[in-house]
Symmetry: C2
């Protein structure tokens, strides 16, 4: 019998916890009273099973529950569904961690991983400078001009602002070729290999057209928000052989109560992310250092036979934090600095300062 071991954090009294954990095991599997489970195979192989319960504070427990892998199949959305679909609606439960002692579900994982991303960027070791094209509302020419500046300054990875979808001010089909051309021109001048990652968005039809634009114009990577395009959609693209590294963005991720290390580090990676953006500590997202460290560790930790994903801390960073952050995360990291460079009196100089700071760290 093949199960995954799922750890939930539950608010309950010592009197309640055993019954609460049993109810949760049922909620996340057969989702009906045990009296309605009349099939012996289902009772034996499918009903969730409470494996252990340990105290985690006053009236807080961690319960480990074994859930049948057969209920997940090979679908990313269905994995999330079985881990937390219904219990996300119950305020006393939080999804903490998952172990797959019997093997991972059949999901793609990163196609490129850290090594593949480094190869594409031409940066074999050390931290990677990443920036964003913003503010939204700018037209195609202004965005392309900004991308040119960033690539000229040596920013290795240049991503769309996650708010740039397909607006009239800069429609995807016009924006992406123009920005890609600007980055290619800068690369020809610098001899670097900066990569542009546009923000894929929309339903199947739109995504198909967008991927075609990227392929037609030699775009080097793509960004997706797994919770906006849908985890299944993202994983299907990767499983079907998407030929560009995927940068995952955490938009909307805060709605549920899933431990960030699990969501960004493990699940987004399982869905096919080669790089994962997450809110850094000390910025404008209030995440603490321990939690951020756990995200980066999870993204790079052994996970079946899957390659590691590159952690990309972001959110209110500035170049003077580069040494501290590389020291904290280690050299396998991309640092994403967007707004603070653009707000500088001399944005070009700020970009070069950022790139210099990154290149002084850990490339030796």
């Amino acid at each position: 019998m093949t199960r995954m071991h799922v750890t939930y954090r539950i608010d309950a009294t010592p009197m309640q916890i055993e019954a609460r954990a049993r109810a949760l095991a049922i909620e996340q599997s057969v989702e009906c009273p045990m009296g309605a489970v009349r099939d012996a195979r289902v009772r034996d192989a499918v009903v969730g099973r409470v494996m252990d319960i340990v105290p985690a504070g006053e009236n807080v427990f961690e319960a480990r529950i074994g859930l049948a892998l057969e209920t997940v199949g090979d679908d990313a959305g269905q994995l999330l569904n079985m881990l937390f679909g219904n219990s996300s609606l119950q305020p006393d439960v939080r999804l903490e961690a998952v172990d797959w002692p019997d093997g991972l579900p059949a999901l793609p994982g990163p196609r490129f991983g850290i090594d593949g991303v480094r190869e594409r960027l031409g940066i074999p070791r050390g931290p990677i400078a990443c920036s964003a094209l913003k503010p939204q509302g700018m037209d195609v020419e202004a965005l392309a001009a900004l991308a040119y500046l960033q690539a000229r300054a040596g920013i290795a990875l240049i991503k769309d602002d996650h708010g740039l979808a397909d607006p009239v001010s800069a429609p995807f089909a016009r924006r992406v070729p123009a920005i890609q051309a600007a980055v290619a021109r800068a690369n020809a001048e610098t001899g670097r290999r900066s990569v542009y990652a546009p923000n894929l968005n929309g339903g199947a039809r739109k995504l198909q057209a967008q991927v075609q634009v990227c392929r037609d114009h030699g775009v080097g990577a793509v960004m997706m928000c797994p919770l906006l395009v849908g985890p299944s959609t993202m994983a299907e693209w990767v499983a079907d052989g998407l030929d560009m590294p995927v940068l995952a963005h955490p938009a909307l991720a805060g709605v549920g109560r899933i431990a960030p290390a699990l969501l960004y580090g493990t699940l987004f990676r399982l869905f096919g992310a080669d790089m994962v953006i997450f809110p850094n500590f000390g910025g404008r997202f209030a995440d603490d250092a321990r939690r951020c460290h756990a995200i980066a560790e999870a993204a790079r930790a052994p996970l079946g036979a899957l390659p590691p994903a590159l952690p990309v801390p972001a959110g209110g960073l500035s170049p003077d934090r580069v040494p501290e952050l590389v020291d904290f995360y280690g050299p396998d990291v991309a640092l994403l600095i967007g707004g603070s460079l653009l707000a500088a009196e001399d944005p070009e100089a700020a970009m070069r300062h950022f790139v210099d700071a990154v290149e002084q760290q850990g490339r030796t």
Copy 2:
């Protein structure tokens, strides 16, 4: 200038709130320091604008922010992104409500609405009995036999358990034709028009194949979990003319960071849901009555020119609550009872009892 008015609930002191609201307006629009916004049009038409701030308790405020509709375009995921993409990651913010004084974004809304669903079910007025096929893990024959019993008993809407995706125990391509045939056979015997709603799941390729199975076999409705298949995916299917009413399931919707009335009642409906399942009060999801009432009201309230969606409260209901719930929600409601019918000593009698209770309410 066309804006939507978005209300956020923010934890802040009276000293902090103005700056906090301004920062939020920026986070959900240009997402960079104002110093980086050098384009006058962007500053004027795109940067979010704090419209008003009112106290909502001790150190809690409601701030109304005007966000440019041009940043949303016609994409459902992008609407969620602009409403709450980044600020969902900030623990002091909650998304409460949206008004569209300048018109709705170009999203499909329900194609069928309450009237279209009623027509399909042959139930012109009064509450509607709904049940679920569970537990997961049962094989196709057992699920079809259960669907037959439910349809024979007069359950009008029979949905897959949301945990039934495409498992080896009951693959979609074999399950759906068998269950549809069972329901059709029961309908032929009873003269009723019970409808089966299978759970669409997966990425674009899988969904395409699943919709084809549904069409080939005359399936009367479909279920989707918008946050699992992706809001954009769901809305694109509806916009492209999906010819079956859509039942939306709240899996992964989490608790409370987006007000449930907004998420289930308004947003899921904008994405194309004809019927919206939500956790009822007094069941196993701890939602309070006032909040549930607001969800049902939002699903049926005027919203541009869109038809209303049918509220479907669910989660630990039992037939003896039918009169109370119809009284509470009014007759435009479907009551979803799954597990408690199946756990009864005589499930068939329990189903008939449920249908009788529903049919005694408000059909006259």
